[in-house]
Symmetry: C3
């Protein structure tokens, strides 16, 4: 019973394919308008705020920005927030030496404002250096209403089965208007704000200091059923250390620059320190389909291990169980002659047979020795609970193999 | 026989390493010339059409383009192809609200051309907005003659074995002139048009609307052989949903922009909607090398499971097979005294021995009891077909373990 | 003994999770100053030399550069280093045909300097074409002092356990000043020069011609212990073919361009051929935690296979060992009546029991037949060495399953 249940539930009759081929195409949509003193009125569209633009499985949406425009290669004062740049006199600023964790190379001068005792070293760098700190309100807070369309194509090479996560509908407006939700799992268009909330995070908080969110797509397909039964499941997780007390290790940001040339051909740049949300889309899956080979193997090794199990059971019953006297008496009471005894030497092994799922015929039906039959029955009845445990044992070993295959992806 | 065959074919005597370390470097070559009304005469080289430029395992080659030059942050009419932008009067355009799936934020005015009843909302956006549709003939159709050089370095850490897919030749011109083909598998330089055709796709079609192509490199190395026997195999697959009737979910494109500043320092940009082919290079592999430990383990567990198998066989033979009378008679006919009978209680187990591959000595050679010997033989002969099946069983279980290791990568 | 040792060492009592969720955030720090004839005095910061800027698990640090500034779309002579561009007369340069492995499309003219017999075809291309060769001294050789901060967050979904590789300290200055070293493994800030040297490479050599370096982070966590016992281990490997005699297949470089517009709106660009080091950060790991299910399964299948093992041992002892006469005599000397003999038919199987780890009671304690007991003991003593080997066999099979789980990641 138990072993058959394991066999069916674990689909031991199926050949499985875990070498999923997958491709992800992502496309973010949405615009937002900002009006700040640094940038003036500005509209942000996808080409502005998605990095990189290619629509791969990893993409970053800018939600907050520190902009340092018009940087040029020249000399200026290092930022006062860099500890290594503090100086009292020129000798504190050895020329040619880079400022540790700073923005440039010291020129040898100590710049002090007015009559201040303390200043910062003058550096050769992209000047002016970045001095502004992170806005406490996200610049692109409206990003929560942006959407991302995730196209996932998968293929199981062993079964030459391929599918996408996009519902194959002729209704062209479906994809133009739908939004993914637990009630609408066939629409692969996700609102960023919803994705963040499904991970248990607060959008405003992640938008201010940045973060990483994992979107997992899982395909677990039983190809013995209809293709429509093979559909993706989505899981959302926060993948950065949001609870760190250590502010230096929380959030996610990086710097990049846009380079320009002025009329004289001199290069200048705008430096951006971008905070935002990185989305990592990950796919895994497996497919199973009936195949006679694993069926035989699993039935076979199940039977093999069950055989051992029943020997062990028999042993336990005969020697360790308190009622062993009764059992031994039952087992051997009708022994009458040598030949029957010889058969009996095999009899303990017979208990393998009744459980061999693949064998339809009952062993007793072909059995002629009355003594044998009775012993077999008694054995069979007494062993029932213990044996099924051991069948479980044997089967679960197979199950363990199966679950190994599950774990890989 | 069968079990030995499995043992040899499945290389159960080898230790395997599936934790492949791999690095991919790709380099696309080729130039093409276009002459369009928007762009004029233009030459495209690698720095123009490969995104990202780093030569990683995923790279994208532009084959088609919609260019919208000289976009500036200002107000203009939204594209008429955006359903949400249609308006009859100004009140249809609530100011400050972004156009759904549009390019900007409404200013509050409805722009109608001439005396037309219907128009589109005025928006603040990167203006003018993109209005052109996809060219039906690929701009960079000549991309089919571009080549990509795929350098793959692998290392099996367990065996400290490393290799590349580049033939280690002293002939410097080989790599400058060769092209990969089924007849020339040692040249890792691929013509894009050929790669596309090997996936069964049409280059012009994929060039127009874009697509994703997977290039798989497989290493299956037997390190007991010469290093030159360890070479890569290449597989090519189309990894996007080419047969979708739903046009919104087919192809591959994305938008990116190049940003400029004019003499007054005002930013403007050229927006590109790029269609093209994304290539995903994937590597997997395993290596095997003789090792005494797995040899012992596999011989051992094979023998162990075979033991069980033979018990089961014996049982089947004695009780279920129609000729059981004959077999039982044969088995027990020469029983003469108690001691021999006692030995016989073990005799059914003897059938394990002849197959135990590791045991060179034949058990019969040390056998003194004539009755025993004959029984053993009879058993051996009768069991032959059934038993090899069960050896297979035992062995295939080991095989299953091995193939598990194969699947991971 | 051996099987218990395997059970404990291999942690067969644990449930394991190998489906690690991981995110990597990298941040490079450091500036360097160069003074070359092409570029003049220039300071390089992170936004200049790290590609791509996003701080993902793969990042590239420029260490050497060939710069070709002010390229425009026009006609010029092809580089003489391109073999296909050599010409003697105009007919060698069919117009409209791209130069193989060259930079542009032939215009039909053969450009010869002065009275030289040989020249190169005129091409339409980004002119002037790149002609400089790789500097033999790395431009950004100081990159060896740059540091990279690798933030790794992991999560084992099965146990809902998450951790980062950053020591959770309240000491804010720790991360500002520490450097990773074998003596300081809890500081995830790596000096690039040290990373290169740990792979056994020379920094100046890799900086000149480029290369790929793998940084592996391994988590092997026993969640039955304190969370602080779950920490990452780092491994560093060179992942490109450094020993190739074939210069075309060694090193790592790629070309990219920065695009500008002049006052007239004409596009020009600066082409960079960047040599440098690509770092691939890879994470794998597994976690184990006590669970009753795998404990039962492993004990069970161990016992099952041991059972087989002991049968086989018994067989070997009785028939193959030279002292078999002694053993058989010992085994059967006290046989007196039919019933005892019948018990004996089971007795060889009894040897399973003493090893069944889960069974605390000794089988002999409940045994009443003196003959049985003595036989059991003799069997037990004689079998001891052989049997533990076979238990090992059984157990190692389980061990094999476990190690399979180890291999995946």
């Amino acid at each position: 019973m138990f072993s058959s249940w394991v066999f069916l539930v674990k689909k031991c009759y199926q050949d499985t394919d875990t070498s999923l081929q997958s491709s992800i195409i992502t496309k973010v949509k949405g615009v937002t308008f900002t009006n700040t003193s640094e940038l003036g009125e500005r509209l942000w569209d996808v080409a502005d705020y998605v990095i990189p633009p290619q629509g791969e499985n990893v993409f970053f949406v800018i939600t907050n920005l520190v902009v340092t425009p018009n940087q040029r290669q020249e000399t200026c004062a290092e930022s006062a927030s860099v500890p290594d740049a503090l100086c009292y006199e020129d000798s504190d600023c050895p020329p040619g030496e880079p400022v540790a964790a700073g923005n440039g190379v010291r020129t040898g001068r100590c710049l002090r404002e007015g009559s201040a005792q303390k200043g910062t070293c003058e550096i050769f760098a992209w000047c002016p250096v970045e001095t502004r700190s992170r806005p406490t309100k996200p610049l692109l807070g409206e990003a929560k209403d942006f959407t991302v369309y995730i196209k996932n194509f998968i293929r199981f090479p062993k079964f030459n089965f391929s599918k996408t996560n996009v519902l194959d509908t002729t209704d062209r407006t479906f994809l133009k208007s739908c939004k993914f939700s637990p009630e609408n799992p066939y629409c692969p268009i996700f609102r960023l704000g919803s994705v963040v909330s499904w991970t248990g995070s607060n959008f405003q908080e992640i938008a201010v200091q940045g973060g990483v969110i994992g979107i997992q797509i899982e395909w677990d397909c039983d190809l013995d059923k209809a293709p429509s039964e093979c559909y993706p499941r989505y899981y959302f997780n926060r993948l950065d250390n949001r609870f760190s007390g250590n502010s230096i290790s929380s959030g996610y940001n990086f710097r990049f620059a846009k380079y320009y040339r002025d009329a004289a051909g001199v290069e200048f740049r705008t430096l951006f320190k971008a905070y935002g949300i990185r989305f990592d889309v990950m796919v895994n899956g497996k497919a199973g389909k009936f195949n006679i080979i694993p069926t035989i193997i699993n039935v076979g090794s199940g039977v093999a291990l069950m055989g051992v199990g029943s020997f062990f059971c028999d042993l336990v019953l005969i020697y360790f169980i308190k009622k062993s006297h009764f059992y031994r008496d039952k087992k051997y009471e009708e022994v009458r002659d040598l030949e029957v005894l010889a058969q009996m030497a095999e009899s303990s092994q017979q208990s393998v047979a009744p459980d061999a799922a693949g064998l339809a015929e009952q062993p007793e039906a072909q059995d002629e020795g009355g003594a044998q039959k009775e012993n077999g029955c008694v054995c069979g009845q007494l062993l029932q609970p213990a044996r099924s445990g051991h069948q479980g044992n044997g089967k679960v070993n197979v199950e363990q193999l199966q679950s190994l295959q599950t774990v890989e992806a």
